[in-house]
């Protein structure tokens, strides 16, 4: 009996977290008149709302922009974080401890302070309305550096010493010997970075004004807030569903990694 109640409560919980998404999908294929009564499935489903979204806003262009920006940021963060994490773990240089404290301190700095001056910087660099404006400020991640540094500590130093004796340069050691042995750290940093930049909205809203350069969350936001959805619920929900789809598909394949990565980032904060 106690077991039954546990399962009942857990199932109600699952419904509370999943049903709204199901409703969103269902409402996005429903005619406008049915949405206000919709509970499970619409009587006459159609893709009309989706075709309206595609007609009204360059949603596929925005999808490509988001993919491009998030991918470049993720690759950059992986390269730079692993490099700096490597230097902090295996190399000796002046100011090493100072650098580490600066990285940790910087991570605790609230972004409210830097938001305005970073925007001004981007204006002065002429990076407003460009991919660079979206990418450059995100290429370094303190959290990424810390994750790599932690992970490198678990790799035996003998491996590196052996490679050094064989005459391997430090960059080669990092990318050909350590990278294949640091897959969990790479996955964690990649998921956190990609998800973070994929879901970022405030910065794109500030930096990008040209519609053809907008990222997907930005375009959908402005579509929902501005008048172009003509207050049609179905169309807004279709746009939201299209925005949710890529990350939900990725989540369904790599669910375990998503949960692990997010949980470990929480721990480190």
């Amino acid at each position: 009996m106690k077991k039954f109640i546990t399962y009942l409560i857990l199932s109600i919980g699952a419904i509370v977290f999943v049903y709204p998404f199901f409703w969103m999908l269902s409402a996005s294929v429903a005619p406008e008149s049915e949405i206000s009564k919709l509970v499970l499935l619409p009587n006459s489903p159609s893709l009309n709302n989706y075709s309206q979204v595609i007609d009204k806003i360059p949603i596929f262009r925005a999808l490509c922009n988001s993919l491009l920006v998030s991918s470049i940021i993720t690759i950059g963060v992986l390269l730079f974080s692993s490099m700096i994490g490597y230097a902090l773990s295996y190399l000796e240089f002046k100011g090493k401890n100072l650098l580490f404290y600066i990285i940790v301190f910087t991570m605790t700095l609230p972004f409210q302070i830097t938001l305005i001056p970073q925007y001004i910087l981007v204006v002065k660099f002429g990076m407003v309305d460009s991919y660079l404006g979206l990418i450059v400020p995100y290429l370094i991640s303190g959290l990424g550096i810390i994750i790599f540094r932690q992970y490198f500590k678990t790799i035996p130093i003998d491996m590196i010493d052996a490679a050094r004796i064989d005459g391997c340069g430090e960059f080669r050691i990092l990318f050909t010997i350590l990278w294949p042995n640091a897959v969990p750290a790479i996955i964690t940093v990649a998921i956190l970075t990609f998800m973070g930049s994929w879901n970022e909205v405030l910065w794109p809203i500030i930096v990008i004004r040209k519609e053809e350069l907008m990222t997907m969350p930005q375009l959908v936001t402005l579509f929902a807030v501005g008048g172009r959805a003509e207050s049609q619920l179905g169309v807004k929900l279709a746009a939201a569903a299209m925005l949710a789809l890529p990350i939900v598909v990725a989540y369904s394949f790599f669910q375990k990694y998503f949960i692990q990565s997010m949980a470990s980032s929480g721990m480190k904060n």
Partner: protein, 285 residues
Amino acid sequence: MKKTKLTPYLMILPYVIFFITFISFPVIFSFILMFHKWNIIAPMQFIGLSNFYHLFHDSLFFKSLLNTLIFLIVHIPLQIIIALFFAVMLNQKIRFIGFFRAAYFLPVIVSGVVVTILWQQLYGFESGMLNRFLSAFGIAKVGWLEDSNLAMMSIAIMATWKNVGLYIILFLAGLQTVPNYLYEAADLEGATSWQKFRYITLPMINPTVFMVVILSTIGGFSLFIEPYVMTGGGPLNSTLSAVLYIYKQGFFFYHMGYASTLGFFFAGIILVVIVIQKKFVERDA
């Protein structure tokens, strides 16, 4: 051998450049801006302490602080109670645990934009899912986003729904670190379930509680997209959040100096609040 000495500096160079350009310069520049009036286009104009004077007489600044406080008062306890409840439920020998975890975690990975657009419909006054549900039980409709006394609370509930999955996982991990012999010893002493929870479980997961409190506090001061999409800060500025106010001052009115002042003060308040919370949580353990 000169090459090996250079390599470390080469490797950290990207960070140094980044730190100078995107962290230290902005912080210093933001500090200077606090004493100036500037709309980016015209030359900067030194105005001394005017921005501070304005801030202390700005009812919208205090309104946004109050709104954030309301958000935190609803959000933090709700988050801890719900997350802890489901974590305790999951911390048993049950089947489909992977399925339940995945389901609770789904809103965490989805963009805040999606969640906000979705909840705007759920909160709808006439035909929103929540009011239809209440009506079915004969309860009067609630103005979730229309009532200025409720709107911020509604946003806090939505934020809890979005984030709580992460904290369920963190609490579950925390619960699994509590060694079993402590409970066995308590059983021998004849402790009740509540006593075991209060005197064994709670102190052991205190670090996790602290983390939830801090992350939720930072989240509260970082609210932007939720009020931006749902309410635009209204009704009657009741959902004007800290970042939304910085955004409005900076990118709507182009008051760069004043927006920087707001940024500095909000950041300072966040750090002070976190220090107080740390003292409070540690004393409570």
